[in-house]
Symmetry: C2
Subunit: 446 residues, 2 copies
């Protein structure tokens, strides 16, 4: 048997899961604090639900499953694996039309994509989506940005910003710059690369996308206005100046005014927010405010992003409901926090290993372990009573358990135990009566 | 679009997930307390890993996935969906041979089986396995039973028992009763049905399985010995009497003596344990102690079970390591606790809805919500500032949010809010300064 997992998939061993599970616990706490509730849908969906929703390229990336009862290796497919969390959301909204609205849900589940094997590109990965379905109010968009802010703060990031823009304003901007209709989306994509490729890069991208002069020059002029502070006042003035002549543009400006007011009420600090005319997000289904969060550390681009998509739920086969939502890059965030914690203790889940000296004192060892556990400190017992102590210490070392408690016959007779810190190799005798608090003191839990 | 999920799969809406997630949090806490660490493996496995492990019937139930890049509905399969959590465990042990042993892991993930559609039988369901790989010591089996006991206690079950037996003793019992070799497993399966079908049922099953006299009579005599107390002393005496002449039987008796001693050290109460010669568990790969847990409520049979399987990891393609483990019926346990809680509050995740009177006091409403959240009480704001209060109350009712806080212009002027309890429809005015503690008092959180 070739023991590696299939290409593009991963096993998560305990040390890797620990950080990820902590990230998930933290984000769930923030989401639920705001009244978002969990949703889970099956990995399996009917092919007619999955296909024809995001275009031919996405359709080719859907994993197809053979009909039941085909033990052979060939045959016809009727099911597929979930490709994202938005199609299932649309399906759930259609299946549960009486669900109270706005429906505020989060969903943290894996999705599968039959990508070409490639470094850092996975065929199975977890998505983490928060969405609010059923209201067109900017209050929902402001809350979404507040959720991003509170989540990143709760995860312990100190230096992050949320970039905000509006698709209606972007669209009016294209009209103002007189970009030919068929090139609009290409021009928007070119602008969106500013953070990655810089000023010259955007210029080159616009040219490569055949955006003609003077349109390209107009775009560059607005994007690189030296007075652009990224603050809301500048943003609204600029947007009003170039988009105010277009109905869509006026709507966008009015949305952003409301959004900024509400963000203020949600107490999202000004210095977290950056209003960026160039920020566009790649997907073409957004219809209003869009937002994207970046952290300074790691240099890995955005860690969360989303926007308003008022027509998508209906397009995907659900009821016609306005919606806004954001997606967190759980795997990127976990990688960042894992790197941050790498220097810190790379621990097993247990704080203490109770070593078993021999069978004669096994009962005492298990009693000690139960006491430690009862006091809320995780504690495992070495499960082979006949093993040499040296082997048990190696096991604790290999798992990264910081403390070993040895209960030998001499110790039992005197009502004490030996406590060894593996990092320093220091060993000290501790009376049984004070063991729990001594361990907590060493582990700095009190 | 047909909005229902595929046959044999389910959407989990918020109210259903809440209990399940609490069950998962509780069991994880117990597992980690004993030093078990999480493992996750991909849903996708190569077909050569999945097939040929549990026989032809299981092979037919594996969902097969078409090769990448096949956008058509027909073709060749090279991957399959995880069928259980034991094959992936064996694969991970093979891929990570330097992992510290004993390797104590738990895994809580869905598995997929292409079962015939049938009520209560699912094609996608969650398994929850705890295993200890790499030691033959009975200490590991005792710990497994202690984990079952502590888990059921932590879940709030008051009336449960763990039935314990040993496959070596069962095998020697078959030799003692002179059951023909080819009928041994059928006879064991017949005995195992005792709890379901009673004495006459077992007799009929033995006859139907062609177990001849006097073998069937010998079996019935031992099983229905009126002196059988289910206590360890009776069990060891009986086992010694019929199995003591067989080497395997003597090994089994010696294992059970150790196991009973260790269970005592682990402080598993006697009245939780039942030593049952008839209990066999259905799968044929167990090699030593086996155990199964039942709860009194609900009448749903076992909620957890497992045993020692010293040869399986190697049979499944992993290294040759002894192992013991238990599987929790997470979905059954969740169903039980859901039923138990049905009478209690069927709540939304938020404790409080802050209603938005109108735009003029929106800022104040959001401030109030932030204060409530900061104090650790979940709180959502109604996301459409123009909605009528009656609509906002209906929303809270529909979601089961127990408290609504109304912040109106008059209230803002006087630094108070209105707090309405939806169950009693009682409303009272609360000063802003004391709001957080007033809410916690109503919610009985202090």
């Amino acid at each position: 048997m070739k023991p590696q997992p299939p290409k593009g998939t991963r096993d998560y061993l305990p040390a890797q899961l620990r950080t990820r599970d902590r990230v998930i616990a933290t984000v769930k706490e923030v989401f639920e604090g705001f009244g978002y509730a969990p949703l889970e849908t099956p990995a399996l969906e009917r092919l007619d639900v999955l296909t024809g929703k995001y275009g031919d390229e996405a359709d080719r990336l859907i994993f197809r499953i053979l009909k039941r009862g085909k033990a052979g290796e060939r045959g016809e497919a009727d099911l597929g694996l979930r490709y994202d969390l938005t199609v299932p959301l649309a399906r759930v909204m259609a299946a549960n039309q009486d669900i109270p609205k706005p429906f505020k849900r989060y969903q943290i589940q894996p999705v599968w994509r039959a990508e070409r094997p490639q470094r850092g590109r996975f065929r199975e990965f977890i998505q983490c989506d928060v969405d609010c379905v059923g209201t067109a109010s900017m209050l929902a968009d402001a809350e979404m940005i507040a959720v991003m802010h509170e989540t990143l703060a709760a995860l312990g990031f100190e230096n992050y910003r949320v970039s905000v823009n509006n698709r209606k304003i972007l669209s009016a901007f294209m009209d103002y710059a007189a970009v030919p209709a068929e090139l609009k989306f290409a021009a928007i994509r070119a602008m969106d690369k500013l953070d990655k490729v810089g000023k010259n890069g955007v210029e080159a991208e616009l040219a490569a996308s055949d955006v003609p002069e003077p349109a390209a020059g107009e775009i560059m002029g607005v994007l690189f206005d030296p007075k652009n502070s990224g603050r809301i006042d500048y943003y609204l003035n600029a947007a009003q100046a170039f988009a105010g002549d277009y109905e869509e543009g006026r709507e966008g400006v009015s949305e952003m005014q409301k959004l900024a007011e509400y963000l203020n009420y949600f107490r999202v600090p000004d210095d977290v927010l950056s209003f960026d005319l160039h920020m566009a997000r790649g997907l073409d289904y957004y219809t209003g405010p869009i937002y994207e969060a970046y952290v300074a550390e790691g240099g890995i681009g955005s860690v969360a992003g989303g926007g308003r998509y008022d027509r998508l739920i209906a397009q995907l086969g659900g009821p016609d409901l306005p919606a806004t939502g954001t997606s967190f890059g759980l795997e990127r965030i976990t990688a960042l926090l894992t790197a941050r914690e790498a220097a810190a203790r790379e621990g097993g889940p247990a704080d203490v290993l109770v070593a078993v000296y021999d069978e004669t004192v096994l009962k005492d060892a298990l009693n000690v372990a139960a006491e430690i556990r009862a006091a809320g400190t995780t504690c495992e017992v070495y499960l082979e009573p006949a093993a040499k102590l040296a082997k048990q210490f190696s096991y604790a070392d290999a798992k990264g358990i910081p403390l070993v408690v040895v209960v030998g016959p001499d110790e039992v007779a005197r009502n004490v135990v030996q406590v060894k810190e593996l990092a320093s190799r220091e060993q000290k005798e501790v009376p049984l009566a004070g063991l729990v608090s001594a361990l907590r003191a060493i582990l700095k839990r009190d």
